[in-house]
Symmetry: C2
Subunit: 266 residues, 2 copies
């Protein structure tokens, strides 16, 4: 099977023009096929603030009312997605920006929660991915750049977690490709001490993860991110890792390079 990288780039790197440019340059010379999934960064929150649209967070998750969905669609599918695509084109890497609605790429189901109304938030699983469409694009030399907006096939767009999209896409493609899934963000990997960027956990298995989670060493947003990583591994993704955008190329090309590698739970 051919290798395919599924790369998730996190918000903080997107917020920093210089970091983003460096990351895109590294992708342009990667010389391996890839799909890029991007988050949103602070831009959506900033825009909501400027427009006086109050943002509600419940347990770290944004509640997506109609106005917030509009902002997310504008910022993720519009501004960020098209700028990343234009930057990749500059480096002669022929990319195509997509939401889940485009080419019916990713459908999702509006989250139903008995206690909390998350609004226009989508949940998804492997069956929701249109793998044939992705294969068509890849076979024709196009690099998909995917934002975290999906649709329900009933005309409704849905805000969806970008880490989950990357995990589910990787899983859906694992039967066709040897998938390497890498979460890139501003830190060097999962850290023992969030304040110390050199305290990288090199290898993380499910047992260690549970233990570190119970001890509170792994917490907040890292927990769902790592859960997504383990899900992908369980679904047949070959390599799953978490590293910095800066170290990305070294991380995937050199198996001993620093960063966190998610390993089998056994």
């Amino acid at each position: 099977m051919k290798t395919l990288n599924v790369i998730k780039i996190g918000g903080n790197v997107i917020d920093d023009e210089s970091q983003l440019n460096d990351f895109i340059k590294s992708l342009a010379v990667l010389n391996e096929p890839f799909i890029l999934v991007h988050g949103g960064g602070k831009l959506a929150t900033d825009l909501a603030t400027r427009l006086n649209i109050p943002q509600q967070l419940i347990e770290g998750r944004r509640v997506t009312d109609a106005e917030t969905l509009k902002i997310a669609t504008m910022v993720y599918a519009g501004y960020i997605n098209k700028n990343i695509v234009a930057k990749l084109q500059k480096h002669t890497l022929n990319s195509i920006g997509l939401s889940g609605a485009d080419g019916n790429l990713i459908t999702a189901t509006k989250r139903i929660d008995e206690k909390i109304d998350y609004g226009f938030v989508g949940d998804l699983s492997i069956e929701n991915v249109n793998s044939n469409f992705l294969k068509l694009l890849l076979e024709n030399g196009l690099t998909p750049v995917i934002c975290a907006i999906t649709h329900d096939n009933q005309g409704q767009l849905l805000n969806t977690n970008a880490d989950t999209i990357a995990s589910v896409l990787g899983s859906a493609l694992a039967t066709t490709f040897q998938v390497k899934l890498t979460y890139c963000f501003e830190k060097k990997g999962v850290l023992f001490n969030p304040e110390d960027n050199n305290s990288v956990i090199k290898n993380l298995n499910l047992e260690t993860f549970q233990k570190l989670k119970e001890e509170g060493i792994i917490n907040k947003g890292m927990v769902p991110k790592i859960k997504n990583a383990f899900d992908a591994l369980a679904n047949g993704v070959e390599d799953v890792g978490i590293t910095s955008a800066e170290n990305f190329t070294n991380f995937i090309k050199n198996k001993t390079y620093e960063g966190t590698r998610i390993t089998s739970s056994f």
Copy 2:
């Protein structure tokens, strides 16, 4: 040659959810292949107002500074484009939203004007269209939905006139398809009297256009729109017309139905 419709939908229809839904329903049952090009409507201006970003218009054309380009990209490529795609998907019409950067679909050149700095505005000609990419999508049953944002291949997005994009796309595809180009907006066609929606000019040739323009009967935004229409005709587009979004299907299926048909200048 196979028939291909290039359909431009104007701003006022996009601003009205009910009109837009009706138009999209009519596209979903058109049963002919098409490419949809959409404008932006008042949403971009409204957002600029809410964000206190002053908008400068010179001779009816928006000056696109960096902040205005950001808004245009968010509104056109994000909000409007993805909502149209999601609505088409609802009607099981598999569409794909694109800017000019996606798949390197349309490059443009930043406008250089000795007198006026239009900012990040792009001009384009037939050679700027990646027809092969459009053919690939159409052959695979995908309907392109194209917004008026292009790129310069150097990483810069550019705001571009949607009427011109429709004309140039139609022209570029005229060697491969029997192209029917239709400009749809809120009025029934080009009017003798802008106040009277029943004063439609049924057939418009270049000579009549020049005469009506000189008399001031055709003026303002209609002039560049009609110029784009004549350009397409000169470039080999088979049928060019201007009609209402409401009458669109009748207009293209029945050659005597009301609306303006652009005819050869001879």
